[in-house]
Symmetry: C2
DNA sequence: TTGGATCGATAAGGCAGGCTTATGAACAAT
DNA sequence: ATTGTTCATAAGCCTGCCTTATCGATCCAA
């Protein structure tokens, strides 16, 4: 009446290998009657005879041999399952889906990927670059494991861990290099180039300048920091970029980089994940690795 | 502490499919707490989190997804095992290893094989032709499922079922056709050609003639009935062959066939198998089929 | 904000299934 | 015939699984 159990399959396998109830029971760390009982139970529930009991010999029946092959295969698969679990408990394995905002991605992403791959070669890293609202949505929907963005995310269901703080710097045409660095008020009078709507960095920059969303319409929008910097070098206006972008973005553009007077504008970049994530502990480790990757020179 | 159970894998699969403890429990025909408990037990014994419990949602973790794939595969294999058992209970399937003595094989074997294949196309029939002692040894050792030989086998561990009785007929050179049929005594004076040692038919023939093993040495030995008949047709002597061999053996040899006076010599051909054989019932069916095949004209 | 509904976790108790030891039965070997 | 081996059976105990009842958290609607 009872269904098959893994226990029965294990006992069956032991008996098929030993051909002897006593020894198979010993190998299975149970008493001989317990094994007899389970084998009998198994045969009855299947309605077939798996073994031929003879005077001095217990032998697999023809059907039993066919069974043995399949049972061994099943037990192997089950053991693999347990192995997989044990391996996963300790280190992060499998797929890791990381989301990252565009104003950080080009500068941090290569370092993250190479560092994670170095620490854990078995890891299947998948990156997704998009704006914060989409990252948060995909995170809560379970389509991402973690995201790197500007804190705070202000989502109670998400765990936040800061990675680093970074200042914003002013990007001006090269001929303005010697001009004094404008303060917030002076900045309002300049032609400020910003990222298109949706990017958190746009909002952060606007907030620094005390400019509202309405005023922003009059500004030029760019879809990436690279574009903005190129526009600056073409003399179209000025822009703000995060520190981390400086080395790469100034490489191919003739622009002047200036720091603001204190208090410098800045933002905090961090990593977030669902509090319910089963790999929360491993993600904490990942955060540490990302932090190191970010602090190292590009 | 407890190991994985198939039950847990089934519950896991149900929960992964429904994403809802209540419905998964219902589908598994148990109460919701029972399912909760087993899932919890499974996660704890594996030391990993398979599901993410959120407010209104139960979702597989990344690792859980990997598990789900493997678990489904395992459950499929287990179900196949049960299906295999059910299929085997009713009809004979798989491999059937039949042994048969050489003095019957050439005449009966083709009919047996074709009839068995007709009745049960899925059957993998393997024939082995050798002398009785070897057949009995292989049978008791489990290398054969059944054997067709002259009864009685006189092995208490074997089940015997008679197939048919057959007379022995005298084979003489064509020129002796008109001569009277010799009785046992007269046969002793003739040059009797017999099969080599080991064949039961040799012993049966000798026993009919009341000749001992010592006397037999002086006779010519042949390794097959065909050889014996050919030797008879060459005028070397006379021989006995079973009825069943007559149609085939006289087809290409110029010999005379004569029946003895009553009591005619005869033997009983039957089928034997281990009493402990798990396919005893099916073998009884096979015996019936073989019987029909034997009674039908060649 | 609050009451109700939903849903999973927890608690407590009962039953059964599986394990143990002890013993029986069949058979082989001496 | 007797003894040893080996598997089956019996009896009893205990663990583990399932049940119902209930809690706690969250979401939703009023």
């Amino acid at each position: 009446m009872n269904n098959l159990t893994l226990k029965q399959l294990r006992y069956f396998e032991a008996l098929s290998r030993h051909g002897h109830f006593g020894r198979a029971a010993e190998a299975s760390a149970i008493s001989q009657p317990a094994l007899s009982q389970q084998i009998k139970e198994m045969e009855e529930s299947l309605g077939i005879e798996l073994f031929e009991r003879q005077a001095r010999q217990v032998r697999l029946s023809t059907l039993g041999e066919e069974f043995a092959v399949r049972v061994r295969e099943i037990l192997r698969a089950v053991d693999e399952l347990v192995d997989l679990a044990r391996a996963s408990r300790d280190s992060l394995v499998g797929r890791l889906r990381i989301g990252i905002i565009p104003t950080v991605a080009p500068y941090l992403l290569p370092r993250i990927v190479s560092e994670l791959a170095r620490v854990n070669p078995a890891l299947d890293i998948r990156m997704r670059e998009t704006v914060t609202p989409k990252l948060l949505a995909e995170l809560t929907e379970g389509r991402l494991d973690t995201a790197i963005l500007a804190l705070p995310a202000s989502e109670p269901s998400l765990q936040e861990t800061p990675l680093f703080d970074e200042h914003f710097v002013l990007v001006r045409p090269l001929e303005d290099a010697e001009k004094p660095v404008p303060n917030r008020e002076a900045l309002k009078e300049m032609r400020l180039l910003l990222l298109e709507e949706g990017h958190c960095f746009r909002d952060q920059a606007l907030s620094f300048c005390n400019m509202g969303a309405t005023r922003a319409r009059e500004l030029m929008d760019g879809s990436s920091l690279s574009t903005l910097v190129q526009m600056v070098s073409a003399g179209i206006g000025v822009t703000l970029i995060p520190e981390i972008a400086v080395p790469i973005e100034t490489r191919s553009a003739a622009v002047s980089i200036s720091r603001f007077e204190a208090p410098q504008p800045s933002r905090r970049i961090g990593m977030v994940w669902r509090r319910t994530s089963p790999i929360a502990r491993q993600l904490q480790e990942v955060a540490k690795i990302v932090q190191q990757a970010a602090s190292r020179p590009a």
